[in-house]
């Protein structure tokens, strides 16, 4: 993968308030933008020379003209539109939708009240990957045993906190500018301000203290994302009691940090903090750490990621009150039993990270203007992301994607939902199969998954009356993993022996997050085990873990359309 940088010498300075285009604008080919499921997009460079006349661009396609918004009444849909598509929120979901919309020839605008890139790029997956890259290297360098086994000698590895923090921050700004530039280059208008729906197909936006602008669009996508969820009783001061927003800035590395919530946000941060020398206490409301992961993977992960590290945990407890450190007192955390609600324990730690999940960011969207009521903040949608109003009817031309609808709070899921919406509004019906969307936790080693967990699959099987098969392979048997001295790991396939359908794949091991796509693609494309097992994998690679996994599945003969299966060729 290489990036193409070039100078856009003749670009006239546009008058967008936020536009930071300089004559020496360097644009990377978006092939480098594939963070959090950003779409790879083949695009022409003609967009660079787009008009600088203002918010509304006169395109050669001619289906747009400047309208006087104030003349419109809010009650009825406008007859003509400023845009084909307006996306509220320029996160990864909005970005994915915008790029696909351009590809489909839609005149698009994206409204952003904060910074382009949303949570993922600015306060989520992107900066956290920078920190995790550091923690992975630290972990390796600090593991004498590991180094010795490879014959390497390394003297005490250390780190500079500010340097690490800068790396995360620089990565976020780089990706942010790549994202901005890619949209500008394609001719997506970026409108600055908080977007509010004022009526059907009508959105106002504007900055505080400036007059609002009203724009109309044939279709509107809500993609406002989410913010960290902080349960009540917890006082966040941003210094000693923090959310992931603060933690990613890495302003301090506390000696002892409590992490409330052991989902993948908490898990990733525990990886970062322990690698940088902190000790960690997990506080989990459920009875088991890492709820949501396949139980078997969770157990193995606990044995590798929790037990040998400087981590302890309290499960089955709620943190009812967390007081930030002040006046020489530590952070105080009061725990109650999740079931009996009896006070259970009090912890005193140097810092607490609240990783209890994320809450939709949908306040002030003006949903009441289209008769929509959120559910716990989430915008109700159907399987095609069409927004549902209070009467259970679909709101025409209004869609909601990403964290704001809560279907699957992952950046790349939002992007996929956005693309699905664009497909629909351009005349092709499309329903996204969420079971084909992979998820990953970038610990060391990584955890990844797609589809159903084993208990979910068994539940489904019981309801629908089919059999469930489980196949497993170990990284211990993989040449490449052993060469890296990283044999710890497991890949698990959950499938239907009767027809060879892949129900779920879960991987814990080196580069699991990269390995999952073979499985997720197979699920998305409906590829069956009896077919994929004949696909060839380069040797020696980690991908052979999946190769072996597919080959070890026992699909019933009746399902084999290819006749008798020949033995896989040994490599």
């Amino acid at each position: 993968m290489h990036s193409i940088c070039f100078q856009a010498t003749g670009v006239p300075r546009s008058n967008y308030i936020f536009d930071s285009c300089s004559p020496a604008l360097a644009i990377s080919k978006p092939i480098n933008l594939r963070f959090c499921g950003l779409r790879k997009e083949a695009f022409g460079f003609s967009g660079l020379t787009h008009s600088s006349s203002g918010r509304v661009r006169f395109s050669s396609r001619g289906h747009s003209k400047k309208v006087s918004a104030s003349a419109e009444s809010n009650g009825s849909p406008p007859k003509s539109f400023d845009y084909d598509l307006i996306i509220i929120g320029a996160g990864v979901g909005g970005h994915g939708a915008a790029l696909h919309a351009v590809e489909k020839g839609l005149k698009s605008a994206i409204i952003e009240g904060d910074v382009v890139g949303g949570t993922c790029v600015n306060r989520g997956c992107v900066p956290s990957k920078a920190l995790l890259a550091v923690s992975g290297k630290m972990r390796e360098l600090q593991s004498e045993h590991h180094m010795k086994a490879l014959g390497l000698q390394v003297s005490a590895a250390g780190y500079d906190r500010q340097g690490v923090a800068d790396h995360a921050n620089n990565l976020a700004s780089k990706i942010r500018s790549n994202l901005t530039n890619s949209m500008k280059a394609l001719g997506v208008d970026i409108l600055t301000g908080v977007g509010t729906i004022v009526g059907p197909q009508k959105v106002k936006y504007g900055k505080v203290g400036f007059p609002d602008n009203i724009v109309t669009a044939k279709n509107i996508i809500i993609a406002t994302g989410s913010v960290p969820f902080v349960p009540k009783g917890i006082e966040v001061d941003g210094k000693t009691v923090i959310t992931s927003d603060h933690a990613l800035k890495l302003e301090s590395v506390p000696d002892w940090i409590a992490i409330v919530g052991s989902g993948y946000i908490g898990l990733e941060f525990s990886d970062v903090y322990t690698a940088l020398g902190s000790e960690v206490t997990f506080i989990e409301a459920l009875d088991q750490l890492m709820p949501g992961f396949d139980p078997e993977i969770g157990k193995l992960a606990q044995r590798v990621l929790i037990n040998p590290r400087k981590i302890d945990y309290h499960t089955g407890v709620f943190a009812t009150k967390i007081t930030p450190a002040k006046d020489g007192k530590p952070v105080i955390i009061e725990l109650i039993d999740a079931k009996t609600k009896e006070p259970k324990d009090t912890l005193e730690v140097d810092a607490a990270l609240i990783a209890t999940g994320r809450a939709p960011f949908t306040n002030g969207l003006g949903l009441e203007n289209v008769n929509v009521v959120t559910q716990r903040g989430f915008v109700p949608v159907d399987e095609r992301m069409r927004v549902i109003d209070t009467n259970g009817n679909l709101v025409p031309h209004l869609y909601c994607i990403g964290d704001a609808n809560g279907k699957m709070m992952l950046a790349h899921a939002a992007s996929a939902q956005g693309i699905s919406v664009v497909e629909q509004v351009t005349g092709r019906d499309h329903v996204l199969n969420h079971l084909s969307i992979p998820a990953a936790c970038f610990t060391h080693p990584e955890i990844s998954m797609v589809g159903l967990t084993e208990p979910q699959a068994r539940e489904k099987a019981q309801k629908e009356g089919f059999e469930v098969g489980v196949a497993k392979t170990s990284f211990k048997a993989n040449t490449k993993a052993l060469a890296e001295n990283e044999g710890e790991g497991l890949a698990k396939l959950i499938y239907r022996p009767d027809n060879g359908e892949i129900l779920g794949v879960h991987i814990f091991g080196l580069h699991a997050a990269d390995l999952i796509h073979e499985a997720s693609n197979a699920i998305a494309l409906g590829t069956r085990i009896q077919d994929i097992k004949f696909a060839v994998h380069a040797h020696p690679t980690l991908s052979e873990v999946l190769d072996e996994l597919f080959k070890s599945a026992k699909v019933k003969a009746a399902a084999l359309s290819h006749g008798p299966v020949s033995e896989p060729v040994a490599v």
């Binding site: 000790e279 949501g292 139980p295 157990k299 302890d312 084993e454």
Partner: protein
């Protein structure tokens, strides 16, 4: 979080799965033994497995188990597997400890259906199995607190509440006067591993929190106190062909040794008959008196009569006559050397001195000696007699006037003044002194006095 990720798993279904994986070998993993006490068997995790090693118990005795919950991790010939409980109940007794190996199908633990049956199950495990020396009642643990090898201590870190109060050690402003123990996650982990009771550990972290190094220090202290005589063969941790930097202590020793080269020293030796001292030692040994304390006492009494030998030269121009006689005794500790000081050894009685000595050694091993407890010596004793060394030569520690190297007391054939030949226990001592202040005649007179005291030791006990 994603909807797909949110669904929590159901233990019942996961036990179903277990059955399908390992239970398919036709071997039932648990079976009803008695009314309500069941055995947990070593499962067959693969067709070729004949025995399994217990990697870790995920539950402790007395823990409640629900069906499908993982109890133990077993290492088979192929992989490590979690073994789940097939029944609800309480883990009553662990019959094969972590690290232990058991053949497939043999009982590795007992599961009681109710809490009341735990005791019964325990009794059963003790009578039926000879592989349970580790099963310890709760009560003795409270009494013999100092015993280092109480296995139940492993379970202690979570609730060692009462002990902390009595010992008053975990000083933490917010720990409600020691009611709760505040220890960092790693400290807790280490305590469990090293079997250290956190209630007895003094915290040195922020706000008095117990941190890893406190536990490590405590772990070193405990076994040494209990078995000080255990000879440790050449450090097993040494890796040949490596260069290992000095620890802080070794660095200090190195600096002192180099510094000692600037002092003009000389040596005077003497052979002392110890039959009387040995007899005395035998007599009062049971009262906790140690040979080190006796020698220190004897030396201190001799120094009373020869203050010059207790003096030192600070500036090269004068004698500094020390007001008290503080006998420093060199002690080898893990990776170094330290000299705990018996202060006013001439004035303190032998029993107190012996107790004091024991206390100092314990502290030294725990690396908890305060500066005044190791750097206020005025005269140093170094004894290698216990290793059979008959004579050696010591380097004078900077800032003091003299050091005495004590060899082993050995039976020797001695010709006496009256022309007889007899057998006597004799010990060679060799004093190294700073010749700027202490001259040959001074040492000679001192040694003569010392010999008299040792050969007629009644004064040592007052």
């Amino acid at each position: 979080m994603a909807n797909v990720l949110q669904t929590s798993f159901l233990p019942s279904t996961s036990s179903l799965r277990r059955r399908s994986i390992s239970g398919s070998k036709g071997k039932s993993q648990s079976l009803q033994v008695k009314a309500k006490i069941r055995e947990i068997f070593m499962p067959a995790l693969s067709s070729t497995m004949t025995e399994g090693k217990i990697v870790s118990w995920m539950k402790s005795e007395g823990d409640k188990l629900s069906k499908g919950e993982s109890v133990v991790v077993v290492e088979s010939d192929k992989a490590d597997m979690d073994v789940e409980s097939f029944h609800e109940g309480f883990l009553a007794a662990i019959m094969v400890e972590e690290g232990g190996v058991a053949p497939v199908g043999s009982a590795i633990a007992l599961l009681a259906e109710t809490e009341d049956e735990i005791a019964e199950a325990k009794a059963k495990s003790q009578s039926s199995s000879n592989s349970t020396p580790q099963v310890v009642e709760e009560k003795p643990k409270q009494i013999e607190e100092a015993a280092p090898d109480v296995p139940a201590a492993a379970a202690a870190p979570s609730v060692p509440v009462a002990k902390a109060v009595t010992l008053g050690s975990a000083v933490h402003p917010a720990s409600e006067g020691g009611k709760r123990i505040v220890a960092s996650p790693y400290a807790k982990k280490l305590a469990k591993e090293l079997k250290v009771d956190l209630g007895t550990v003094v915290g040195s972290g922020p706000l008095g929190r117990i941190v890893a190094k406190d536990v490590e220090a405590a772990a070193v202290a405990v076994p040494v106190a209990a078995s000080p005589a255990k000879p440790d063969p050449v450090a097993p941790g040494i890796e040949l062909g490596t260069v290992v930097p000095f620890t802080t202590m070794q660095g200090a020793v190195s600096r002192n040794m180099v510094e000692s080269l600037s002092v003009p020293t000389f040596r005077v030796g003497y052979t002392i008959t110890t039959n009387a001292l040995d007899a005395l030692y035998k007599k009062i040994k049971s009262k906790g008196v140690t040979m080190t304390a006796l020698l220190a006492k004897a030396t201190a009494l001799a120094l009373v009569q020869h203050p010059v030998v207790n003096s030192c030269c600070r500036d090269g121009n004068s004698f500094t006559y020390n007001s008290s006689i503080n006998i420093a005794v060199a002690v080898a500790i893990d990776g170094g050397l330290i000299t705990p000081v018996l202060q006013d050894a001439d004035k303190v009685d032998i029993y107190t001195l012996s107790r004091k000595w024991k206390e100092l050694v314990d502290k030294a091993r725990a690396k908890q000696l305060q500066p005044h407890e190791y750097n206020t010596g005025t005269f140093t004793l170094s004894n290698l007699g216990m290793f059979g060394v008959d004579r050696f030569d010591a380097i004078l520690p900077p800032g003091t006037g003299a050091i005495m190297a004590v060899g082993a007391s050995q039976p020797s054939v001695v010709a006496s003044m009256d022309g007889r030949i007899g057998m006597k226990n004799q010990m060679q001592v060799n004093v190294t002194a700073d010749h700027r202040v202490i001259y040959g005649a001074d040492l000679a007179a001192f040694l003569q006095t010392l010999a008299k005291i040792v050969e007629d030791p009644k004064d040592l006990t007052f």
